[in-house]
Amino acid sequence: MIKAILIFNNHGKPRLSKFYEHYNEDTEQQIIRETFHLVSKRDENVCNFLEGGMLIGGSENRLIYRHYATLYFVFCVDSSESELGILDLIQVFVETLDKCFENVCELDLIFHVDKVHNILAEMVMGGMVLETNMNEIIIQVDAQNKMEKSETFIFQSPRQDR
């Protein structure tokens, strides 16, 4: 199971946080801060796995992260997930974002956090990996966006508006 997915930038500003277990808002912020603290002090050329982290850590859980330009993508997983599998999943996630936003950069994530959530929802559901095939993910995301657009169109004609 994936316990949490966090994206934050080099300064620790959260860009996306998705917790699959409930914590209250303060604890969530604390976890983000702590994770950032742990991850950011690591060298570029060390391994992508981390144990510990007091809050979400526990002995069973691990942090698996990747650093892309200005962003850290961190997955917190328990022992049933394979480390390499999750690394691969992060790669798929980033590539999907890249396709959906066309050359994704931090600003896309800042202004369209809802879209990022929607893409993530097609990959991971309730902490379980739903789909790892990028094409399949993109097909579903596009279909939903198309639906949204058609609705907005209807919505703009005043008769449909309530």
Partner: protein, 962 residues
Amino acid sequence: MALKIVKGSIDRMFDKNLQDLVRGIRNHKEDEAKYISTCIDEIKQELKQDNIAVKSNAVCKLTYLQMLGYDVSWAAFNIVEVMSSSKFTYKRIGYLAASQCFHESTDVIMLTTNQIRKDLSSPNQYDTGVALTGLSCFVTPDLARDLANDIMTLMSHTKPYIRKKAVLIMYKVFLKYPESLRPAFPRMKEKLEDPDPGVQSAAVNVICELARRNPKNYLSLAPLFFKLMTSSTNNWVLIKIIKLFGALTPLEPRLGKKLIEPLTNLIHSRILLCLSSVAVLISLSSGMPNHSASIQGLCIVPRPLSVLSLFIVKYLGLLAMSKILKTHPKSVQSHKDLILQCLDDKDESIRLRALDLLYGMVSKKNLMEIVKKLMLHVDKAEGTTYRDELLTKIIDICSQSNYQYITNFEWYISILVELTRLEGTRHGHLIASQMLDVAIRVKAIRAFAVAQMATLLDNAHLLTGNTQHNGICEVLYAAAWICGEFSEHLEDPMATLEAMLRPKVATLPGHIQAVYVQNAAKLFSTVLRGQEGAPADSKVAQETSQLLIDRLPVFVQSANLEVQERASCILQLVKYIQKLQQKDVEVAEEVTALFAGELNPVAPKAQKKVPVPEGLDLDAWINEPPSGSESEDEGRKTKTKGKAVFAKEESRHTKPRYTEVDEKELAKRREVRKAEQANNPFYIKASPSSQKVYQEAVGVEHIPVVQIDLSVPLKVPGMPMSDQYVKQEEERREKNKADRKKKDKKKRREKGRQRRGDSGPESEEDITPAHMVDIVTEEMPENALPSDDDDKDPNDPHKVCDIQGNLHDGSQVVVSVIFENKCDSFIKSMEFNVMDSLNSKLQRPEGAGPHDSLTVPFQLPPGISNEARFIFSMQSIVMPQKLKGTLTFIVKVSWSCSPQRWLITTMCHLASTRRGRTKVGKMNLESGHVLLIWTRKSKRLRWYYRWREEREIQRWKYPWRI
């Protein structure tokens, strides 16, 4: 109307959308909090509008603010509104917000049940999709129970997109509502062979998660998985299957042989899978005579793989090794050098992994070498976290399995002393407890230990440094105690005494000062004894007393009560002794007597093992509880009783009296009590062996009243038979160990002392040391008592996901409910209903709808009880079920002529809840009077039911409490 629409649209033009909000926050870097609070005010305004577009926009912004750490639970109801919009765009926003901020205690969740059900059956697959995704994040036991059937139907939806989501979410449903597992399982199994790879992978995912908790139940699926493993091309699925096999093979060794070939193929063809496969391979080979596979696997681990960077492989290699270590310690030990090298790695994760491995690798031979290496690292390490980790590891490694690997304790003590030189460590207390442990348990080392400790005390100023919060000063606690307790080994007790009474000591933490003071007194007695032998030295003895009298007042003024008390007590004592000394009275004998006797280590569990004296019934009431105060939950009586009884003032006085009562009287009282309990329908006997027949109400004699069996063992820890056995076993083991040790340490053994005294009573768990060098054992075998199971978390949701047991269809359970009216009013028109769960249904008369309630065929005047029976058809009996039931009734009360409707749930934490006519609301305390009566009464209601299947009658031990 049109005007309103236009106005709404214009308003909306000025609303901020999410992008504007983000932009605004970025532009107000200095006063972000202030800006956001104005935004929240705006959002509150927007939420008040009727326009759903405005609302969803507001909710969308709230989702963003939630990420920034703002509590948005106040908008929960608006989120539900947006969720129930008919438009996909808004629905999605609503579900996203819900998945981010709803959780089990969000009360509006219960309003969503029908909306979600509607969405699940929506013709639009994406509506269903977002509902499933949202639900996966906030599913509650109630939702799981109510929606389990709908989700199960979706598992065979025509669209694979829905199927895979439905399959995945079933895992969450199982966790929250374990009863659904049995009926859903066959379909889940089908999905393993679904034509769509996505659905297949989801099913594999779910079964792997389930099997991780209870692998043995899924052994039957092994052939299916084997087929999948050889045919699937999806890496993700393969990894999951390999992990699953990793859990299965220990249970079924034959599986291992079969797996070796395909796994080795996989290793060669796929890099990604390589490492997880290796780990499994190794565990497979554990059951086999030849270790070729494991050796082969190990060769692969250190081999650098071109595609992945080296450090990832290193980490995973170490991880795999730690798994191998459990089964094949030998094969890992040959890689010792490699692992020690990893300690030099710059990556902390890798270093920590390597440390873990070292723990399992030590042996008598290499312990000193490894620890020496580690000590080097301790000196080099920068960063306190890692250094602390090293320190704990060193201690762990050395102390593991009762100091098994330590051959030279002098060496160990000196290591501990060296460790005290670490600055700023948090683990002072750990070192201290090790010092104490070793000094107490290893007699032969005491002289050496005392000498070392004396030096430590002498150099205390080096340890304390300038900060008082320095954790390492804990060591002084141990040092002072050891020097005091074993002062006969001190070479120069006078010097140590002087060191312990330096004024600087007053800056130490209170509990350490207290030990200092106490042990100064012990040292004093030693000094006196040493000096009084020679009469010429009486002057020196008096000087010693004078020293104490001079120095102790500092402690008497201490702010710490403990220090103050001990210091003033000892000060007075010394003053008195000085007076005697001046009269030339020999006092050494008496003073020494103050601290005579040896302290032996006591095993942590020894107290539990003390046998209960004969004739003492711990379950017996010391005072019968007053009849009116039986509101205590009887199911937990045995657990809580002790506390409750001893909390009462009066019972404390009666306790000694109780012990004086003679056996006869005792037996008589017990009889009386038993009879009373037997007549009390609400008393459930605590002793597990006997059953009581319910005698009171006419016509219900035949109902067997079964004692409560909670999943937590309630037995008072006594001395059951098995314990004796365990004891014997332990003794045998200890003897063996002692024998072995004799061989090892022949030269140190002292003749004639190796025979051990019988360890008679349990309280003497400490074992008088038989050898000069012997580790005084304080270990106890695991699982000696049922209470040892406490370690397991009873709340583990996965424990319940166990589908064992067998059941024929159409089984019935007859539930006899005894209703007793304890209030002063007349109760009539009782209607009883239990919501159907997946595998239990209340049987209703023909023609009745599935939600109709049954009328209870009697009325209850005050103080009367009667029994009604309800029949449930059951499909599964593997676990106790919580059924939610309602009992509605009318109470005739003088001040209220309108019928009151009550809802009682079986949820254990709720005594009773009131449900209004139409809508679920908060508890209405207007009619608190009745509620109170009911609450009291409800706790006294017990449900018993039994389970009948053809000829054999099994009894179920679960009480259903209303």
